[in-house]
């Protein structure tokens, strides 16, 4: 087969060219030698334009997400692993078991083939570790300047096998406990620390991780979990405000209960950012009836991705749907959505 496609791709110094997206031999070669080699499964090997899937009985959960991150490689992950983890997590936040992923790539003309291969290999490793197959995909190459290196879209399909589960952002009730699976802001600060122009050396590592295994343990122990959501962009503050609005409740958090690494807090202080507004890629918020909170907390703490879990507050009746926080000093304040984008403050 290789002979018909010419000499192998030059992964050491070659670059993606417009021809790699033009539907000709170059594109076939890129798909064969880079994508199929990495993802390596029976669906892709069939070479069809679609994957035919058998799904177990139950409700299906479907989610899609597009990944754009600068820099593409950061401490603790890269755009490839993040594209797998992010969509798996969106599927899993329904209580579903993720089964399949699709992957779409928008590649800028000139991207080193070695960079593309490293990203795709990272995706494949993340998918394999999560036990989820990437069953179909697409690539487009755009002219230089039309995208920043590489964008990835992934769509995930999962199945909710337990009929009892009814997990949805509109189900929080006053009195429910709010739990968080670990430390806040690790991903956002890891990425920010590596951004151009910002050279402070910190040992902050992204928390990017697939949470479906943690979710499986949680829903098995407490099937009446009401809400699950991963606090990604906009951080915990945005997620809780979304949920408060959806569920028509207020929330009251306890600042001293929030797990935040000292180095993340330090970096946030320095830049004038609030860790509650900073992105996470491997954490979840769970809301459950108060009587189930301790059981759920223990299950979360017993999982490697939930060691720092904590009960951080409760849902309350509030016509204004305010998310409030009892500060460590005993005062009270609102935890608001971020206005605009998080920009470091100097003066």
């Amino acid at each position: 087969m290789r002979s018909s496609l010419g000499p192998p791709l030059n992964l050491a110094s070659g670059r993606v060219e417009m021809a790699h997206g033009a539907g000709g031999r170059a594109m076939a070669q890129l798909i064969d030698e880079l994508f199929l080699a990495a993802f390596d499964n029976a669906w892709l090997a069939q070479g069809n334009d679609q994957a035919r899937l058998t799904v177990p009985p139950g409700r299906l959960a479907l989610a899609t997400d597009t990944f754009v991150v600068t820099p593409r490689v950061f401490p603790g992950g890269d755009i490839g692993s993040m594209a797998v983890h992010g969509t798996i997590n969106d599927v899993a936040m329904s209580g579903a078991r993720p089964l399949y992923l699709t992957a779409g790539f928008v590649i800028e003309d000139g991207l080193p083939l070695g960079d593309l291969k490293a990203t795709v290999d990272s995706m494949a490793a993340a998918a394999r570790a999560a036990g989820v197959a990437v069953v179909c995909g697409d690539t487009k190459v755009v002219e230089r300047g039309q995208c920043d290196g590489l964008y990835i879209n992934t769509t995930g399909l999962g199945v909710i096998e337990d009929e009892r589960l009814n997990i949805s952002g509109d189900r929080a009730r006053p009195g429910d406990a709010i739990l968080l699976s670990g430390t806040l802001g690790d991903h956002g600060m890891a990425v920010m620390s590596k951004r151009e122009n910002l050279t402070f050396d910190t040992p902050i590592v992204s928390d990017s991780a697939a949470l479906h295994d943690l979710v499986a343990a949680m829903v098995t122990a407490v099937p009446d979990i009401r809400v699950l959501r991963d606090p990604t962009r906009g951080g915990l503050a945005a997620t809780l405000n979304e949920l408060a609005r959806q569920s028509r409740v207020g929330m009251l958090l306890t600042e001293s209960a929030l797990p935040i690494r000292p180095e993340v807090r330090g970096a946030c202080e320095l830049l004038g950012l609030d860790p509650l507004n900073v992105a996470n890629e491997g954490k979840l918020v769970a809301i459950c009836p108060p009587e189930a909170a301790e059981t759920l907390l223990n299950v979360m703490k017993g999982h490697p991705l939930g060691l720092d879990s904590a009960i951080i507050g409760e849902a309350v009746a509030d016509p204004d749907r305010f998310v409030q926080m009892q500060t460590a000093l005993g005062g009270r304040r609102i935890v608001d959505w971020l206005a605009g984008q998080p920009l470091p403050r100097i003066c």
Binding site: T327, L329, G331, R333, A339, L343, P344, R345, C347
Partner: protein, 383 residues
Amino acid sequence: MKYVDDYRDPDLGRRLAAAIAAATRPATRYNFMEFCGGHTHAIARHGLEDLLPDAVRLIHGPGCPVCVLPVGRLDMALSLARDHRVILCTYGDMMRVPGSGGDSLLRARTDGADVRMVYSTLDALAVARDAPDREVVFFAIGFETTTPPTALAIRHAAETELTNFSVFCNHVLTPPAVLHILDGPGAPGADAVPLDGFIGPAHVSTVIGSGAYEPFAEAHRKPVAIAGFEPLDILQAVLMLVRQVNDGRFEVENQYIRAVARDGNRKARALVAEIMTPRETFEWRGLGAIPRSALRPRDGFARWDAERRFDLGDLMGRDHPACDCGAILRGLKEPPDCRLFGAACTPDTPLGACMVSAEGACAAHWSYGRFRHPRHREARRAL
């Protein structure tokens, strides 16, 4: 986090709050202005007002350089940014601030302007060195704290004959603004809230020193307590002021002794004096024109002064006529008293000075404290 956690200790905080409550006298009101936006933000973020007795009221002053920059100056920066020869460098603080018609540097960048966010003036100098065929302008703002780095950049540009670099200087001065609030036109009259004392700025005071407040404390018989930005710093300063009021004293006390000396930072002040000189007058958003309240590069450094290098005209942006910022900055009104607050004017759509930056009185109140005001809740329901 060493040097931060120590100053946020909940137990010490409660003890300070109890000491303040015990020190206040039944028939006495204590109206203290924290001048600095950093304090305003810390007070709101840590919910400190909940820890203070009713007799103590904190009035949020004009000490946020982003907030007090008039729209016209921002329009000048926008016209620079939209000049295709120019790379405009500035701190992240300025990127979202709206100019006339809701224009902003972020929007200008979306439209193709070359606006770069930098973390220090050294970064802006590097941009100028790397782009010798472009005009690189550093949009400088801030009080006495951020002025020395700007002065240093101008001196460095002069020494290295970096001719494609200039500074659009908007540095403002703290003492003239405090004096203006006390006795400028429109100062608190009979119906106004009397100010019983000032919480002095933290970072600004590291440069100008606690001595800089002594003349006006004496002349206006107002106590001053310079405080750090952490919650315990602020509570301790409030306690100092309560005791001064009780004793009839009007001294400059320094709570922030770990960073502020009486003389401040002489080297930094000498550097600023060498490069810059006070403007005759400068417009403050919300407060109006204040004499000798801002700096510009001296004539010897005119080549590095963007206002003399480019024809910026005198763009006169105007604030929204219903905006109550001036009264809020003087303590005559509170944020929810303004008709625009929370309706047309929010941190996402700021109209007035106090909503523009996170450190402004209205933004801090909206983002952290709006649950306190039932009036606002009723107004929203009525909408």
